[in-house]
Symmetry: C2
């Protein structure tokens, strides 16, 4: 069924679960780089399936697309990545994941205390040390927190 070599964008979409439009968008963001066939249509390597899966996982961890692009830059450019290559770069995700788990556990353990204190400059307050704010998009809250007075 392949006219020439490679997967079409539709095939890639079906097999990753991403929308075609999302895959094209990722290309504009430098996350994936297909070649073109004679008719100008995008063609992808099989390794791109794994690449997009990696993008999806990294997104769940709260990485932005530019961050994911940077992580992916750790893959070899001159050859198809091996499983060892993938495992190597996913170490960075694992570190991030562990940090995030630790932050959330700390927050859970301090939840009552935080609610009680209003989270103003208590040194043991998890919110006061927002190590990893996956949620912060755009400018977002400033989180300055000057002196604490009584609530």
């Amino acid at each position: 069924m392949p006219a020439s070599e490679g997967l079409s964008i539709g095939a890639l979409a079906r097999r990753t679960g991403l929308a075609v439009s999302a895959i094209r968008y990722y290309e504009t963001q430098g996350l994936i780089a297909p070649w073109r066939n004679a008719g100008g249509q995008r063609r992808y390597q099989r390794a791109d399936l794994r690449r997009l899966s990696f993008v999806m996982i990294a997104q769940q961890l709260g990485l932005t697309l530019p961050e994911i692009r940077d992580v992916l830059a750790g893959l070899p450019g001159n050859r198809t990545p091996t499983r060892a290559d993938w495992t190597r770069i996913s170490t960075r995700l694992r570190d991030r994941l562990n940090q995030r788990i630790a932050t959330l556990e700390r927050l859970r353990d301090n939840l009552d205390g935080c609610i009680g204190c209003g989270c103003l400059s208590l040194p043991n307050c998890a919110l006061y040390n927002p190590a990893d704010r996956a949620a912060s998009k755009g400018p977002g809250p400033r989180l300055v927190l000057d002196e604490a007075e009584s609530l």
Copy 2:
């Protein structure tokens, strides 16, 4: 120093670390309801400090503003919330937090397997069971995942 009773929006902003514009925005979203002084300026209760702190924590857990509004609706309307009131409604946050921690731990434990498998319909793949997608804004990826073929 207070002209009349209550905190001004600037005072509230300084003490929560939020931007003044954010606090006004929260009001349009029904998260907080100040009264107005004679000159038409917003005045807040001290309990609103805690209320905004709660909003900030809930946001870190990935709740949307409408969801937070709903949780806050569990506070008594006719009196200032007690610490017990706050603890009661934060149970919902704790459940959410525990779910999220579990998801991330599962993902961490399967990370290599996921990268290796390309995350296509392996039953033990954490991505295949995205129980709690805090990151999903808007329409987002479809995550359909039909049949797995060899990668």
